[in-house]
């Protein structure tokens, strides 16, 4: 990539010099020779703006030589009659140097600016994370402390049903909390690049089957429709991570749409990609949110009580990106939202003997 870019720069140097010389030859009859020098200076500036110092300097050198040979009397030789043209040459080289330096410093400043913005974004995420921890983790903790202390202190006075209900809520909240913690850790690992993909040939149909089994309880209040064609190519992916990505989309659909609505899970092949789509039919997210819904801590729909650290979709997107795929959300014409991700296909492995 970088080598190709440098090569391109030198190609531009040569092309610009040739173009200026041709333009100069055309101008010669009507313009002063000093104005022709200006055309070369323009070429030097343009190249210096787009490419690093090397090509800029080369353009200046080539321009000096071409200008000298073609226009400076006596033309057709590199001899210089008038000493004042040496000044023209010096200015051309100086312009190349100054513009390159200028462009470089602007680029450095832009990079510094970007770093600053990134830092601000990190800070925003950190405070959102803290806010989310205090809400999403403290609530279950409060329930667990309350319910378990009731059991411990006055279990004998409670009916068997009440005891069971309290114990059950301790369990449910503990599970919910463990889920949140796992998601926070997972997001941190994904962000730090601490996750190495363990790619292996996998079947998307199998992943669909296992995620539906894992989330059976979570999806029990929705009508889940599964559309997986029987002939799908295998994909070389980290199956555990992609299972998480798909699971997060399904959990998102289940927690943000009313009970009884349809959640449709489709897998299809489109060219050299596999597309996995989760459609829900519970109130479309607002226009603005479609673009941002995969960002961290965006809940998409303004329902505080629906819960979820808001990390599920961000984790999904990070996993999909690691696989060189894309995650996106779209409003559907009839209301509802389609969340989808793609996974690139590779040539199939050799079949079993």
């Amino acid at each position: 990539m970088r080598a190709g870019f440098a090569w391109q720069g030198y190609a531009w140097s040569a092309a610009a010099t040739v173009a200026c010389t041709l333009a100069g030859l055309a101008m010669r009859s009507r313009f002063d020779i000093v104005n022709i020098a200006m055309v070369y200076v323009l070429a030097v500036v343009v190249v210096a703006l787009r490419f690093p110092r090397g090509p800029a300097f080369t353009t200046a050198m080539l321009s000096v030589l071409a200008f000298d040979y073609a226009f400076v009397p006596p033309s057709g030789t590199f001899t210089v009659d008038d000493v004042q043209y040496l000044l023209t040459f010096a200015i051309m080289l100086a312009v190349a140097l100054v513009v390159s330096r200028l462009v470089e410093s602007v680029k450095t400043r832009a990079a510094a600016q970007a770093a600053l913005e990134l830092e601000a974004e990190t800070e925003r995420i950190r405070s959102a994370l803290l806010a989310s921890i205090s809400h999403d983790l403290r609530t279950p903790l409060a329930v667990m402390a309350g319910a378990s202390s009731s059991l411990a202190e006055s279990g004998e006075q409670l009916s068997a049903d009440e005891r069971r209900a309290l114990a059950n809520s301790v369990f449910q909240q503990a599970r919910r909390m463990s889920d949140h913690v796992a998601k926070i850790l997972q997001m941190t690992r994904l962000e730090n690049g601490a996750i190495v993909l363990e790619r292996d040939w996998s079947s998307m149909a199998e992943i669909v089957g296992s995620v539906l089994a894992r989330l059976r309880e979570r999806l029990s209040l929705h009508r889940v429709i599964v559309e997986v064609p029987s002939e799908l190519p295998l994909v070389r992916i980290d199956a555990s991570l992609v299972e998480q990505a798909l699971g997060n989309l399904l959990e998102n659909a289940a927690s943000h749409t009313p009970a009884g609505t349809v959640v449709r899970l489709r897998v299809e092949r489109r060219g050299d990609e596999l597309v996995v789509i989760v459609e829900d039919y519970g109130g479309a997210i607002a226009d603005v949110d479609v673009a941002r819904v995969f960002d961290k801590f965006e809940h998409g729909r303004a329902e505080g009580s629906a819960g979820g650290v808001g990390l599920g979709l961000a984790i999904c997107r990070a996993i999909v990106r690691l696989h060189d795929g894309r995650a996106s959300a779209q409003r559907m014409p009839g209301g509802g939202t389609a969340f989808s991700f793609t996974l690139p296909l590779e040539p199939a492995p050799p079949p079993p003997a």
Binding site: R175, I207, G209, S230, P352
Partner: protein
């Protein structure tokens, strides 16, 4: 008739976790032997000869995987591993080292008890030498090498049959990709996971009502497969 109580060895360093496991396993009628370190656990397995071992992977002294290897040197007792979410790799290593199943912390007690029962049932079935497997309307006779679905014969290719047999040998428990590949195709194919994807799909199409949402031939994503059998009818 009162059978002798089955003994379970519990190798776990966290006293709070031992506390609730001891209580629940006790209620289920098991006798629990507790070891708080890996070394102690490997020794207790030899002296107490339990019917099953539950081994935590995150032990303070020696790795849970080492405990499993030491037990496997002399015993085929079922071993269930307790692993944390962050221990994906060592979980697979433990299974490849000879553990029969795993439960990820935090788990519901019901989940662990179901695994324990499946593992013990398996041990009993091996002793009894039963060669017929029933999954709803499917019946597999491993001696006669025949499969029937709804009373109709189903043809399985030799490889499909070997794969089904490899899963049935550990019925109810997880079998890693590597083990299945080594057993069905030989040790040189331990990394050819796509063979499994292709043949599991064929098996499910022949034996499952809905191949995408199987009821018996389950996928353990990233780990392997599990043949889940319905609990045996009181016989």
């Amino acid at each position: 008739m009162s059978a002798p109580r089955l003994a379970i060895l519990l190798v776990e360093d966290e006293p709070e976790i031992r506390r609730f496991l001891r209580a629940s396993l006790g209620v289920e009628g098991y006798r629990v032997v507790e070891s708080s370190t890996g070394r102690r656990g490997a020794i207790d397995a030899g002296t107490h000869k339990p019917d099953l071992a539950i081994v935590d992977l995150g032990l303070p002294d020696i790795d849970g995987i080492n405990v499993i290897r030491r037990i496997r040197e002399w015993s085929s007792m079922p071993i269930i591993v307790l692993s944390a979410r962050a221990q994906e790799r060592s979980k697979i290593e433990a299974l490849d080292a000879g553990a029969n199943d795993y439960v990820t912390k935090p788990f519901a007690m019901g989940e662990l008890l179901a695994r324990v029962r499946a593992a013990l049932r398996h041990a009993v079935r091996i002793d009894a030498g039963s060669a017929v497997l029933r999954m709803d309307d499917v019946e597999v006779d491993f001696d006669a090498r025949t499969v029937q679905r709804d009373g109709q014969p189903v043809h399985l290719t030799p490889i499909e049959f070997r794969l089904l047999a490899a899963l049935a040998k550990s019925a109810g428990m997880v079998v890693t990709h590597r083990r299945l590949l080594a057993e069905v195709w030989g040790p040189t194919h331990e990394r050819d996971t796509h063979y499994l994807r292709i043949y599991m799909k064929q098996l499910r199409e022949k034996l499952e009502a809905d191949p995408v949402q199987p009821r018996f031939l389950l996928t353990e994503t990233g780990v392997g497969y599990r043949l889940l059998l319905p609990p045996p009818a009181a016989a």
